[in-house]
């Protein structure tokens, strides 16, 4: 009953040195899931499997796994670590002693009810909000030891809402991702343009490059901001609800692109998600939060138990397996304490 992401999960959490196997194993495992499934896979599963098998750069993946070139993070290294973080706004404490570690190539999903402190945790991890206590470490050094531009060269953040004040073109927005690499009076070089072009290409935005960002749909806009984050050339990406308000196909596309980047570049991804099934399907590990504290932390199999989810969401849930790929599936039921909203 192993899911398709099992090899990556194994690398990240338990055997950091075994990443060569993981990177190579990922693609075959994904295609195996399609071949082996007796039930016709849903659109999203199919799209993900296609993307994983058709991921264009085996050379990059191999290079990452074998030699770890200088520009890529060390395989299996801890990209981001939080130790006993507490924090909040003003005198209102939102976060209580949360600890996580995210390895290169891993996707950590942060899930929990509204107001559980997910976005606050992301803000602290991005350096935008200083923690009250505890330490957030980026590649082994505390965030406070970096200046803002140094953080931006290693860590990219995509907010839930992506508003832009003036009519910048899509390409201009993506090129803004190069800002932390450029001095004040410097123009983007060919190298920067090539990176922006590749980011546009990856998120299928080349046809929209000239369009003002305001004219784009929500899904297109989200892809633009993900491309901008990629243009930063980061080792860590923090994504606040990257799939909120998007349709099934866009959700599947975004997870497929993230998966490619994790395999090719060892990108560590931390994403807050409301969709528990998406978290179970795509994440290597899950942080379940309630009231600013950790309510569960581990693989989706470990965390997404009926008892855990029932306690956190105060809702009856049914936890089963997706017959198409064996991943954990959560179905909601009745509210545990009815009458709360009356």
């Amino acid at each position: 009953m192993k899911g398709e992401r099992e090899p990556l999960a194994a690398t990240a959490s338990s055997t950091p040195h075994a990443s060569a196997d993981a990177a190579e194993a990922a693609a075959p495992a994904a295609s195996g899931a399609t071949a082996g499934s007796s039930v016709a896979p849903s659109l999203s599963v199919a799209a993900i499997n296609d993307a994983a098998t058709a991921a264009p750069s085996p050379s990059n993946a191999a290079a990452y796994a074998a030699g770890t070139p200088e520009c890529l993070p060390a395989a299996g290294a801890v990209a981001l670590r939080a130790i006993n973080l507490t924090g909040g706004y003003g005198d209102r404490q939102v976060l209580h002693n949360v600890s996580i570690d995210v390895h290169a190539g891993e996707l950590l999903a942060i899930v929990g009810p509204n107001g559980a402190g997910k976005s606050t945790l992301l803000k602290i991890l991005s350096g935008a909000l200083p923690p009250w206590s505890g330490v957030a470490e980026l590649e082994g050094r505390p965030l406070a030891a970096y200046d803002r531009r140094a953080i931006a060269r290693r860590l990219a953040m995509v907010a839930q809402e992506n508003l832009v004040a003036f009519r910048f073109s899509v390409l201009e927005i993506v090129l803004m991702g190069r800002a932390p690499h450029l001095g004040p009076f410097h123009f983007e070089t060919r190298h920067d343009l090539a990176i922006a072009h590749a980011a546009l290409e990856r998120f299928d935005l080349l046809g929209l490059a000239r369009r003002p960002i305001q004219e784009l749909s929500g899904g297109e806009r989200k892809r633009v901001f993900l491309a901008r984050a990629l243009a930063q050339d980061p080792h860590v990406a923090l994504l606040d609800e990257p799939t909120a308000f998007l349709d099934l196909r866009h959700v599947a596309e975004i997870f497929a692109r993230l998966r490619e980047l994790r395999i090719e570049r060892g990108l560590a991804v931390v994403a807050t998600l409301h969709d528990l099934n998406a978290a179970a399907l795509h994440a290597d590990r899950v942080l379940l939060m309630k009231d600013g504290a950790t309510a569960g932390y581990g693989t989706p199999e470990e965390v997404f138990t009926a008892a855990n989810l029932r306690a956190v969401y105060e809702t009856e849930v049914y936890v089963g397996r997706n017959p198409a790929n064996g991943s954990i599936t959560v179905l909601p039921g009745a509210i545990v304490r009815p009458g709360k909203w009356d």
């Binding site: 508003l163 004040a165 009519r167 800002a179 123009f187 050339d233």
Partner: protein, 356 residues
């Protein structure tokens, strides 16, 4: 850090990048735009120097140093055109910068009450220091201080739960603008009649009879301000994405905002202390330029400097020739153009730009 993470074959890459050249700011496009705007500015300035309420012979003015033509050209018209150009450049560049800072195309020194604060400071300094002496130095200094305080107050009051609300900011600014106007009228009503002309001058804005010393003062402070704004032009682009987003792209948001607010307040203070309140230049010029050349502040700021200069010199030419030999305050001309333009912008994209 720099190997490109994703490589292309060179030919395909060259073609692909060339294809995208019109979708972002390139050096060539920037150079072409700035050259065109410079030519426009030079032509407008030549026309403004050549024409006025009195006809002068330009050749005689240059050749014959004793002629009245010489005196008019170098004593009156040239400093006036220079002052118009510098003040216009300051107003438009400040408008573009403030719009970036508050993420709203309707922001401007006058509308946000910064000019009003500066004019109030200048008038108080005039009244107080004309008895004590040292008014020359006190007027600009008080204008800077008052513009800065006004800016800080508006900015503070527009923050709701630590977030800047564009709509609130605009309303607070408009209220401050009206407040400063009332404060100036209050001063006007309690001081000697002797000051009334100066007070009207500051309220309406005019380039009447500037000295070369005043021109030099505004040029130096304006020049320093331009350098600060150009240095932070890319940061202004990033601030268009939002404060948190800019910070996450490496901008020290609080520091940059503080520097730009101080620079723009000093620039506005300098401009107001010599020419009074000239409204709407900072709104009209960046807006038209943004539509024509795009939103990238690395080009918008220098283009606003040149465009603002040309626009204001032209407005002043109208101000002093329209009802010659008498003249209109240039601030009245820009406000007459700017009021309807403001409404037009508000109606066309106000909703969008206010809620972002």
């Amino acid at each position: 850090m720099s190997e490109p993470a994703i490589k292309h074959s060179p030919d395909a890459a060259d073609l692909a990048l060339a294809d995208l050249a019109d979708a972002h700011l390139t050096r060539a496009r920037m150079a072409l735009t700035l050259v065109v705007l410079s030519i426009v500015l030079i032509l407008v300035s030549i026309i403004a120097v050549a024409f006025g309420s009195v006809h002068i012979d330009l050749i005689r003015a240059v050749v014959d140093r004793a002629s009245p033509d010489h005196a008019i050209l170098f004593g009156a018209r040239l400093p006036r055109v220079l002052m118009g150009a510098i003040v216009g450049a300051v107003l438009a560049a400040v408008g573009a910068a403030l719009q970036a800072l508050v993420r709203n195309p309707l922001a401007e020194g006058g509308i946000l009450g910064i000019s009003g604060g500066g004019a109030f400071g200048a008038i108080v300094a005039l009244v107080v220091f004309s008895h004590l002496g040292g008014a020359d130095i006190a007027i600009p200094l008080c204008a800077f201080a008052a513009s800065l305080l006004s800016t800080l107050a508006v900015y503070r009051l527009a923050q709701v739960d630590g977030r800047l609300e564009p709509f609130t900011l605009l309303l607070v600014g408009v209220i401050f603008n009206a407040f400063w106007g009332a404060a100036i009228m209050l001063v006007n009503s309690v001081v000697n009649f002797f000051f009334t002309h100066s007070i009207i001058f500051w309220l309406m804005g005019s380039f009447e009879a500037p000295t070369y010393r005043e021109v030099a003062m505004v040029a130096v402070l304006g020049g320093i301000g331009f350098a600060v704004l150009l240095y932070h032009a890319r940061d202004m682009n990033l601030l268009s994405l939002g404060d948190d987003e800019a910070a996450e792209l490496g901008v020290e948001v609080d520091a940059v905002r503080r520097i730009i607010f101080i620079a723009t307040s000093v620039m506005i203070g300098a401009a107001v202390s010599v020419s009074g309140i000239i409204s709407f230049v900072g709104l009209i010029v960046p807006h038209i330029l943004r539509t024509a050349i795009g939103a990238d502040h690395r080009m918008l700021i220098p283009a606003s400097i040149l465009g603002g200069a040309a626009f204001t010199v032209a407005a002043d030419l109208i101000a002093r020739t329209a009802i010659a030999p008498s003249e209109l305050p240039v601030g009245a001309i820009t406000a007459l153009c700017g009021g309807p333009f403001f409404i037009y912008v508000l109606r066309r994209e106000g909703r969008k730009s206010l809620v972002l």
